[in-house]
Assembly symmetry: C2
Homo-oligomer: 376 residues x 2
């Protein structure tokens, strides 16, 4: 685990990091996105970008209290407002895939910015940094969380460390996560559950197969139930979710002349946030009734929570119709702490993690304008 | 590839190897089996045993022409008989599995000899060595083949090298392979064909699974056809065969949150010797019609050939009812050269390659007596 670099859980003002990258938070947020994208920050290698963000916030947003925690940078107003809005963005990206530095195609309303992280989620980070510097007197108190290690195993996520070491920085009345959502409000998120189902049999030489029992053949009913499965598509708070039950791995076999005695099918269930993790597990156990099933891991979803006053204001400022978030995001971490939480960021989530990752620059600007409207 | 140790494809009389193990070919064949078992000879490490066999044949069976070829020892009579019988046994074993040295349990008719190689196939080797020394004037000319590397990939089998370098040593009218057959005549052998069947799909995030196509789910009909398959059990020359079609490996999966776009099922088909390898392939392609199928490897079976005069004599001498050989053995190599070929050796084939490998010593003696009857 990474600990804070300079002792204690967080380091306050006065100790500016030396940086090679100077970010201009007052620039057009599209320019700022390109600048962020061009500082590589693959998970576990975020220091250069975190230093640049910390330096920029300390020098260009003096109205904020800034704290460094590991490779996360936290900043907040302390204006005594009646409510507090959290704005969160991870700084890390998936591995670079021959898609840096950033480049642009098109122009005007059709301009597109390409490169690793443009969608997931430096466009969102740029919007949040823009707002951080531009709004010294927001309507709500604001807490900005720029954090590390979101793109790798959940146990490494920088929010875990912040929750452990600086829990009061996660308090508030609404959380906005800048993950890509096509510049719409995506509310709530689906939960995820991974299980492993095993069949067993008895080994035998394939020349005398009737003396054994083939565990791969025995997996047929598992695949049959997956094929026959009709996923729910519930509507919650007016938002349409879409569940799923998918085999993500299958393996079995001993040798080319042996009837195999074991086969494993790993299944991922995505479930709407009206179901708890425990209910999702009970459901999957029922689907695969009669089979040996082990839960590998799971995370509950998050209800949309659009009924809260701050969320309703945000929806109005963003315009358009909110939609359901299908993938699991850190929104669920905030929801688990009792905050309504939404995704709101530029770019299409379907392009995340792809080599051709790209974001329409108009979405970056529209997100920055909507947040400014909401918070002014 | 191993070449002959002393130049040329084979080395004739006069150059006795120095040995640490002296085998007594005139001893009770059970004692001889134990002596062979106690000389470890895992595949590719047969030299010590091959040296002992060569030394014993040269010194105790002077009526035989003896040739050394790599770690194989070949010996034959040249009596001008009307027909020639080949007697073949491999010298190597699978890896030792905490089952050496040999030990005995029981006594008299219930005595059992335990240890690596007792079944596969030093009991058979002992029977052949016993006959080699005991019968200077056999009814048929005899060719003994003690060879290396049968238990590993077929390409390393010592018979390949012998066929290439000393092909006339494989000529004859009947081949008897001393593989375990419960001291009965097992005639012919089934063929084997291995294929790989692939399904393909389209990757997608499991949270939006309907945007992809799950290749593991797509493998369900393959498993269904395997489950529904009714294997033929044809009777050939009075012998009952039993075919099989078995998945021996399955694999698919990209990541825990990705709908997989590829899945592979490896299938082993065992087919009776009334079908050619080409017919077996056509059959398997028909079973999996509509799927992408690749042949990995295959070997044709061998017809029983019990109608030949020498084979009929052997069956009479062995007594009992001949049975079909289901596994593939080197019998098929001789059959492919036009020789009727049978398995005839002590021990149960189902114990081959197991840690508890053991042979009833009465079967060793009965095999030796039957071969002596047949050849005297």
């Amino acid at each position: 685990m990474r600990r804070c670099r300079r002792g204690g859980p967080g380091t306050a003002a006065g100790s500016l990091p030396r940086v090679t990258d100077l970010l201009d938070l007052r620039a057009d947020p599209v320019e700022l996105t390109a600048a962020l994208v061009d500082i590589p920050s693959v998970s576990r290698d975020e220091r250069r970008l975190a230093d640049a963000v910390e330096h920029a916030l300390r020098t260009q947003a003096p109205h904020l209290e800034v704290v460094r925690n590991g490779e996360a940078v936290l900043a907040r107003t302390n204006l005594g407002r009646a409510s507090r809005v959290l704005l969160a963005g991870h700084l890390d990206t998936v591995p670079i895939n021959d898609n840096l530095p950033s480049r642009r195609t098109g122009s005007g309303a059709d301009e597109v910015l390409h490169g690793c992280g443009t969608v997931d989620m430096k466009g969102g980070d740029a919007v949040l940094l823009h707002v951080a510097a531009a709004l010294p007197e927001p309507r709500h108190d604001l807490t900005f969380l720029f954090y590390d290690c979101e793109e790798i195993a959940a146990e490494h996520n920088g929010l875990n460390r912040i929750e452990r070491e600086l829990p009061d920085w996660l308090d508030g009345d609404l959380a906005i996560v800048g993950e890509p959502s096509n510049a719409s409000i995506e509310a709530g998120c689906q939960g995820t559950l991974r299980v492993e189902i095993r069949t067993s049999g008895a080994r035998a030489h394939t020349a005398r197969a009737w003396m054994g029992e083939n565990a791969i053949h025995g997996a047929e009913p598992i695949l049959r139930r997956l094929l026959d499965y009709v996923p729910r598509q519930p509507v919650i708070d007016g938002l349409q979710y879409h569940e799923g039950l998918q085999a993500v791995r299958i393996e079995g076999g001993v040798a080319g002349n042996v009837v195999p005695d074991s086969c494993l099918v790993a299944v991922n269930h995505r479930f709407a946030p009206d179901k708890s993790l425990a209910e999702a597990e009970a459901h999957v156990r029922k689907v695969f009734d009669g089979f040996d099933l082990t839960v590998v891991d799971g995370s509950g979803g998050a209800l949309p929570g659009l009924g809260s006053p701050a969320a309703a204001e945000l929806v109005a400022a963003a315009g358009g119709e909110p939609v359901a978030k299908l993938g699991w995001t850190d929104v669920a971490r905030f929801a688990a702490r009792g905050l309504p939480a939404v995704n709101f960021g530029p770019g299409s989530p379907t392009l995340a993690h792809t080599q051709q990752e790209n974001v329409p620059t108009a979405q970056i600007r529209s997100c920055a304008e909507a947040l400014t409207r909401f918070l002014s």
